[in-house]
């Protein structure tokens, strides 16, 4: 894998921030996009633009075919059984809301339990919280240990006869914990409990095989997988998507509409109401091709190396503390520096062209658990290099200088 060749595919890396080359370490927030994706987007709008599905003129036929090609690519990318199991949404947050809302409608009653974990992003908590508010459901949080790993034995203990669904992240956007989803699904399967996986952070960084995981739902955001903004993906086992009621209602998701009765289209159209992010879905196909052109194993290897390199270097800096030490860690590195607030770190490293994130990263529960109000986070993408890490570390040293720490 030639990292320079990869980096050169991302036009943004020719840009300067405050006169310095951009060191982008905020990929867990959103990734940068390769030229092929941007070219696809631009080409489609300039040469072939049309809405899909509804019209039957040549432009519409072409657009519809390309849109469906992306669906097929995603099916293959995550190894789904059928492309009908792939629903396009606006982001992973909507994907999770779709499941929480439709599943909740028919399967959650007062006193029923929803099991999530202390690692969850707000997007995998708030939608379930709504069922607490509207249905009187109970939300339980599987605890983590100080390393940032879910304590599986405790998760098991929290399952009762009232547990109706388990919703869990595949990869923590704070600690980088890679969660043993297969193990959790096996536990759930024995009790016939469906499992939703928040795959926002995993999709760009580890191999996803929904057949092997055997999970019921899997949520992804294209913009974190080197794709455009505005596109989310929901994988759902066909039996679920067929059984659950529709979500957003409108054009394109109906079968027959009468003044007293409406019947709905079959999946996946049933869940794709209104005009979709057509151009963005089509361009996302190039993101998948980009990932496949490198090979997920090569991506994993590169990012693992870089993560280890970064962890070692960061640990050597005085008063830097890495948050979490999970068994299996991806390139998400949250840290604090005694005496400097994460926002001050972010501002200071920004002067060196280094983009990191500071705050609770939409994980207040986790930060409460760790007794922190905020952390700084450097997160790695396939385009990052050891030099990026070196510059980050130098910038952190500069924080210590500005704050006159010894």
């Amino acid at each position: 894998m030639d990292i320079n060749l990869i980096k050169s595919q991302f036009p943004i890396f020719t840009k300067k921030i405050k006169g310095k080359p951009l060191v982008y370490l905020d990929s867990s927030n959103s990734s940068q996009k390769p030229t092929s994706v941007l070219n696809s987007l631009d080409y489609f709008y300039r040469n072939e633009f049309s809405n899909i599905g509804r019209s039957i003129h040549s432009l519409a036929v072409n657009a519809t075919n390309k849109y469906e090609e992306t669906r097929t690519s995603i099916k293959n990318f995550i190894n789904a059984n059928s492309k009908d199991e792939i629903v396009f949404t606006k982001n992973a947050t909507e994907s999770i809301n779709l499941v929480a809302s439709t599943f909740g409608q028919e399967n959650i009653k007062k006193g029923d339990e929803i099991l999530i974990t202390e690692l969850e992003h707000h997007s995998n908590y708030v939608p379930w919280h709504y069922l607490r508010e509207t249905k009187g459901a109970i939300i339980k949080f599987a605890p983590i240990n100080d390393d940032g790993d879910i304590i599986i034995s405790k998760l098991k203990e929290l399952i009762t006869s009232k547990t109706k669904i388990i919703a869990v992240t595949h990869l923590s956007n704070v600690t980088g914990t890679i969660v043993p989803i297969k193990e959790i699904v096996e536990i759930a399967r024995k009790k016939n409990i469906p499992v939703l996986v928040d795959g926002c952070q995993s999709a760009p960084h580890i191999k996803i095989d929904v057949k092997d995981l055997d999970c019921d739902f899997y949520a992804i955001s294209a913009h974190k997988v080197y794709g455009p903004t505005g596109v989310g993906i929901l994988y759902g086992k066909k039996k679920w998507l067929e059984k659950l009621p529709p979500y957003i209602g409108g054009g394109g998701m109906i079968n027959e509409v009468n003044k007293d009765k409406i019947t709905y289209a079959s999946v996946p159209e049933k869940y794709e109401a209104g005009t979709m992010p057509t151009a963005e879905v089509i361009a996302f196909n190039e993101s998948i091709k980009f990932m496949e052109s490198i090979g997920i194993q090569n991506i994993i290897k590169h990012e693992k190396e870089l993560t280890n390199y970064a962890l070692e270097k960061l640990k050597k800096i005085n008063s830097v503390k890495i948050i979490g030490n999970p068994k299996n860690k991806a390139g998400v590195i949250s840290f604090v520096i005694k005496g400097i607030h994460p926002h001050d770190i972010s501002t200071i490293v920004d002067e060196e062209g280094v983009a990191i994130r500071a705050g609770h990263h939409c994980c207040q529960i986790l930060h409460n658990r760790l007794n922190l109000s905020a952390t700084a986070r450097a997160s790695i993408g396939v385009y990052n290099t050891k030099e990026d890490i070196d510059i980050l570390c130098k910038a952190i040293e500069n924080c210590r200088k500005v704050f006159e720490l010894k």
């Binding site: 509804r54 039957i56 075919n65 079968n255 289209a265 159209e269």
Partner: protein, 156 residues
């Protein structure tokens, strides 16, 4: 591509004056079909006799020339055939349209072969394939005694 390959005279003829239109008497099987994209709708009525031969087959419905003609031609081709032969003709037709295979059946006479081939122009118009196949899927559904309406969004 000449539009006349899609809209051959046979098609226009059947589209304008479909054969076997209406609800036949004493039908033994029926099924409905729907193409949500176009709004084409078809209702097929099938009468099998004791020897499992297609005594009669008729239809009601609305749709474009392709869809009406295809339904009309279908009824002509399977009427009087044994059920097994009818099934083979359906498979042959769908293979022709969707996989561009040749018509293999020995059960059609020359005139009938010309009729069925008159629908092959649709292969060049992907959005119109469903118009042509709707009736045939619906016939299969009627034969199999399925309760659900055929929906080309699901089938094709």
């Amino acid at each position: 591509m000449d539009l006349k390959e899609l809209y051959q005279d046979i098609i226009l003829e059947h589209g304008k004056s479909p054969k076997n239109f209406g609800k036949c008497e004493k039908y033994t099987h029926e099924a409905k079909g729907h193409n949500p994209l176009c709004g084409d709708q078809v209702h097929v009525y099938l009468k099998l006799n004791n020897e499992k031969n297609v005594d009669n087959v008729t239809f009601e419905g609305t749709g474009c020339a392709i869809s009406i003609a295809s339904t009309s031609i279908m009824t002509e081709l399977v009427k009087g055939k044994s059920l097994e032969t009818a099934k083979k003709i359906v498979i042959d037709f769908l293979n022709m349209i969707k996989n561009t295979q040749e018509i293999k059946s020995n059960d059609l006479d020359e005139d009938q072969k010309i009729k069925i081939m008159s629908l092959s122009g649709v292969k060049q118009y992907p959005m119109r394939v469903k118009c042509a196949t709707l009736a045939w899927h619906t016939l299969t559904s009627a034969i199999n005694g399925k309760k659900e309406e055929v929906n080309t969004e699901v089938i094709d």
